[in-house]
Amino acid sequence: MNVRRWSALTKRELLKIARNPAAIATSLMLPIMYLLLFGQGFNFTSSLAYLPPAERVAALNALLLGAPNYFSYFAAGMVGFVCVTATLFVGANVIFDKLFGSLKRTAASPATATDIFGARLVAGSIQPVGLAFLVLGLAILLGQVGLSGLDVSASVTVVGAAEVVLAILLLSLMFAALFLALGFTIEQPQTYFALVNAINLPVLLTSAALYPWGAMPAWLQDIASYNPITLAVEVLRITFFGDALYPYSAGIYLLGLIGWFVAMFTVATLLTQRALAPRV
């Protein structure tokens, strides 16, 4: 990889993101709506207040694996959700660059497929990572203004914070690689968005991002255990609420995420190289 080419291409991607405030505002709207409406309306654990404290804690532990309330559990899940929805634009941008010719120009330069893919991967992951932390900040802030908010019940260590950052980064990179691979191989925006929708919903609904773990049927728990969103979200929950009720440490979940990222990165790199090679 040529560092100068790579950084110039990354700068180009970031400039394009910065010059499209409407897209930034749109990507902010979804998590804000979820936190302000869904999270507030569905915070069912407040209805368990009638239970004696010991029974209440037992019920919460069984359902939410140590999270003090559903909103807190859900806020961590929202971070994973945002990492997915905010990265899907990186693939769409590739398709539009093909349609408007600028990818043709880049491909005609000495830049390698690795330069082109790597720049888009990094630039495309910056926005989701930023959004993820915005969601966390907003979720904590809501608790300070009289609404349900993210209640961090464990003491967060430096290592724990670093694990959270790493989990968010890996999840964003993994989905950015997936959507880039789709962007480089699909020609029509309509096909891309149809496929992305067909991927997003099943991936989200087979994860532990939204469902209380204890309420999920065993078969869904089995599937969710391998879902990359679950892996990332569990790192956040362990850090924020403690690991006592989790079968593995945050490090194991991170290893699983690294595995997902490596697999997706490898596939995406191969597909990008194939797409940018001279046409046969």
Binding site: R4, L15, A107, P110
Partner: protein, 337 residues
């Protein structure tokens, strides 16, 4: 003189059956402007795409700027410049940002980059709009920016694919003035495809006429026109010009004489040398002349001579066009660019 481009037996077959380019061989000398002329679907862009490592050939060999065009695509791209038919600049970036990006992609030395960018912006009359997004540029400005991007790294060989398509006559003239000036300054070799006959005639040192994937004629514009049968000297007598036709036919080197609306059209290899004899023959017969003019045959006639059909700039899609379209459509469905 060494050759900047050598193509030997280039073949491109789409869908296993349609030959878009059929055993094309030619060479382009160092510092030359070489035109690839032909109607839509003739195989011009396919040939250019193979020479610039955009398209893999089905067969044949090519050397461009001293490199095997098919074995060293990345090195090749560093040595050549490519200006596409359509605008490929990033619309959201400014003209200057597009040039800075291109400078980085083509490894223009960092210390030279600002000077080179400023030079090109000035040289191509883009300095005043350099900091505007490209989406606000006019068609002519976009073409000039494409050219600036194509030559940011001072390429050895510049490929121009229908570079003036869609420009008005002034825009085309301005664009070609820049190209000829740059060629004079840098000695750069230029390979261009065009379907504008007048453009090829005025700009190119040598021309290849391609039709149905084959080169049907090659030479300087003058040579090609000479091969059609030379010049036409039009002789207009003041009176009826009795006996003039026979006297003109009797002149050495005259290949034909046609009379149209009282004007004698004399075809010969070299009109300039025939004119004194024409005037002498008329004077010998006591015929006063109202005028004598010399017209060299245009490339339209050359195209007609070598392809057997008249040239149409707006010809509809050919079998090759359709095959290329189908191939790209199938590539897209299979997930290829």
């Amino acid at each position: 003189m060494p050759d900047a481009i050598v193509a030997e037996g280039l073949v491109k077959v789409y869908n296993g059956s349609v030959k878009a380019v059929d055993k094309v061989s030619f060479s382009v000398h160092e510092g030359e402007i070489y035109g690839f002329l032909g109607p839509n679907g003739a195989g011009k862009t396919t040939t250019l795409s193979m020479l610039t490592a955009v398209l893999a050939p089905t067969g044949g060999r090519a050397t461009v700027a001293g490199l095997d065009a098919f074995r060293n695509p990345h090195e090749l791209k560093q040595r050549i410049g490519l200006v596409f038919q359509e605008s490929t600049a990033d619309q959201d970036l400014t003209g200057r940002e597009n040039l800075l990006l291109a400078a980085a992609l083509f490894s223009v030395p960092l210390r030279d980059t600002p000077k080179r960018v400023e030079y090109l912006l000035e040289r191509l009359a883009l300095a005043d709009s350099a900091d505007r997004p490209v989406k606000t540029f006019s068609g002519g400005m976009r073409r000039r920016l494409e050219l600036a991007v194509g030559i940011i790294h001072s390429p050895h060989v510049l490929f121009l694919d229908e570079p003036t398509l869609g420009l008005d006559p002034q825009g085309r003239a301005g664009f070609w003035k820049i190209i000829t000036d740059l060629r004079k300054e840098s000695g750069m070799t230029v390979f261009l495809t065009t379907h504008y006959l007048d453009e090829a005639d005025g700009m190119c040192d040598r021309i290849a006429i391609i039709d149905h994937g084959k080169i049907v004629a090659e030479g300087t514009p003058s040579e090609l026109k000479d091969r059609v049968g030379g010049d036409v000297v039009s002789v207009r007598p003041l009176g009826a010009g009795v006996g003039l036709e026979a006297a003109l036919r009797a002149l050495p080197s005259v290949t034909s004489v046609a009379v149209q609306d009282g004007t004698f059209r004399v075809k010969c290899p070299s009109g300039e040398t025939l004119i004194p004899s024409v005037v002498g023959a008329a004077t010998g017969l006591g015929i006063s002349l109202a005028g004598v003019s010399l017209r060299r045959p245009s490339l339209d006639e050359v195209f007609l001579e070598f392809t057997g059909r008249e040239y149409r700039e707006d010809e509809g899609p050919t079998a090759t066009d359709r095959a290329v379209f189908i191939s790209r459509f199938q590539d897209a469905r299979r997930g290829r660019r």
